[in-house]
Symmetry: C2
Subunit: 352 residues, 2 copies
DNA sequence: TTGAAAGCGCTAACAG
DNA sequence: CTGTTAGCGCTTTCAA
């Protein structure tokens, strides 16, 4: 077992001082060519690499970002992580991932664990439980300690920090309008409880569009799914709620707040004998693997998670590397969305 | 902005020495009750938390694990990460994630970036490119430096380290046998090129079972998908290869090495007018979201990724915390698999 | 051109 | 019971 060499051993080996070695390796002009060459050769031979931890301690920065997300077995979040990694690695940063599992407590623990010097800044999408508790002290305290936070997707209006979002309202308006234009008369929405900001905003877009088209809003057509926190058997629970919804509503167009709700609704609808898209057209927010491979394939809204990740990392790293500049001027970046047209909105016999 | 307090400032504030503070906080019996109380109160008030980096430097361990995987937008890998996080957090470890994107070079860079003190050990699933190059020097060098590695799923026989795998051969045998028992006469397999060990082993299982059942192996029925590395438009390329396969083969049972191949094959088969499962039964290795929500839902083999993650983390942490014990006795843990019965193997009119 | 010394934040052996 | 000192690996004045 070959121990990693340190400056100290190189110095001793070459019979020079530690600081000489350090300077030689950083090509300081204080050091003579001869010595430089000698030191560098030796370092290469023994494959010297400076110890990151020592550097971190010295420089008071770790060159690593902490990413805290609710879940990782989730297409959207993984694309975001990819984007973060991509940008961060490019800039020489590492990323530590922490999972909150939608739990407030785990979110706090993760934050505290990493805020003790392990990372330079956070990229966070807030846990549902935190949103419902409305307890955000851990975020403000972290920021207060001088550790910057970037929030994406599930953000908190009251916390002053950089944010990366999509225009949930406008995007939903586009989607619902598309259903109307496709000939749907009775359009429903499957959303989340209102404390999840994206759910609330998407529902708002839905209502706006109905209003704009002079269609009366029927509250029974707005289903707000009640998620259990930290529970794995949400799926059946979800199906039940949607089943009941279809019992009580006759819709020919459905907008959902994520692809899972859409896919599940399609399954339930099929059980009830509806044909998609002829009897029921569907659009889901958030493009993932499910949508592309579903049958029929699902029309969705792409949030461009990879880009959101890149933008988040960029915001954070910019702030870390230019601490004085633009202080207190927090940015909110709105990433554009696209409707990805697939089969669930492709009528074989267009009504118009 | 409240700066994080250090031992030093607490010491100065309370007019005692740094080591007194340090000891008081760790409840050393060397320190008088009075002082302890005073120090602790002060520390709580100012929300003192020891600096992780300083501790890491001192202790020569970081309490963080480096996980390097080919891809993160991938159900199996994310379940594994969940499992790793779960076990690691429980033991007070953090997790840094690095992505190789199936690229040899990125894998090496990631390894080197983290091996300079940032992490205590690695959990790795090897990139396809690395497997095809057969260049494993980065792994052996890392191990040589005293940094333990645990490999999972895509492991390398020649590297001596702890491993977590499933019994690919036996499991595939079970799956193919199930197809035979279900009445399939012409069974094909869609696998990967042989340098991907799991692909090779699963193909081996396929062949074994045909042999055991005295069915002649037809090479044309063995499709070995040619993945492009680092390419996002693999999907079309995949469809093409499968399309050609179906042109040249008439199969009524199909075993695939992952769920994407299965789903894609189902799509192509449908285009060719085949009904599933009546004309074609399908089983895919690796259970993910796609399988559950596909139509018809796909019978798969669950590798229990979460468990694999937990086991990997356990192996690694055990080795880190008991460095002398059981030295050089590397373990290979075989995680059990299950066939998850769904619709693609459920004949409406069983042939037998 | 090189080296000694201090310091990043913390712990621990040793002295007082 | 408390403080001094040294050291983890590195950089960076400042002095030689």
């Amino acid at each position: 077992m070959k121990q990693k060499p340190t400056l100290k051993v190189i110095a001793k080996e070459l019979d020079v001082s530690v600081s000489t070695v350090s300077k030689a390796l950083r090509d300081s002009k204080e050091i003579g060519e001869e010595t430089k060459k000698k030191v560098k050769a030796f370092a290469k031979l023994y494959n010297y690499r400076p110890n990151n931890i020592a550097l971190s301690l010295k420089n008071k920065k770790t060159k690593t970002l902490g990413v805290i997300i609710p879940e990782i077995v989730h297409h959207f979040f993984t694309t975001v992580i990819s984007g973060i990694e991509h940008y961060a690695n490019d800039k020489g940063y590492n990323v530590i991932v922490g999972l909150s599992n939608e739990s407030f407590k785990k979110e706090v623990i993760n934050l505290e664990m990493l805020a003790n010097g392990s990372i330079d800044g956070f990229i966070i999408s807030v846990a549902k439980e935190t949103l419902s508790f409305k307890d955000f002290h851990h975020f403000s305290e972290t920021i207060d300690q001088g550790i910057p936070i970037v929030m994406f997707d599930r953000v908190i209006d009251d916390i002053e920090c950089d944010k990366v979002i999509v225009d949930d309202v406008k995007t939903s308006e586009k989607a619902v309008q598309k259903l109307i234009d496709g000939g749907c008369k009775n359009i429903g929405i499957i959303s989340t409880k209102d404390y999840v900001n994206v759910g609330r905003l998407r529902t708002e877009g839905y209502k706006n569009t109905l209003n704009a088209n002079h269609i009366k809003i029927q509250n029974s057509r707005i289903l707000k799914i009640d998620d259990k926190f930290n529970s794995d058997d949400n799926l059946e629970f979800l199906e039940e709620q949607i089943y009941t919804y279809f019992e009580e509503n006759e819709v020919d167009g459905l907008f959902t707040v994520n692809e899972l709700y859409a896919i599940t609704a399609m399954k339930v609808a099929r059980q009830k004998g509806l044909t998609i898209p002829d009897d029921l057209q569907v659009i889901g927010f958030t493009d993932g693997v499910l949508s592309r491979h579903a049958f029929p394939s699902l029309t969705t809204i792409s949030q461009h998670g990879f880009e959101m990740g890149e933008e988040s990392a960029k915001l954070l790293i910019d702030r870390l590397e230019n601490p004085n500049e633009e202080e207190e001027l927090f940015k909110t970046i709105v990433v554009k969305t696209d409707i990805i047209d697939r089969e669930t909105t492709k009528l074989r016999n267009p009504k118009k």
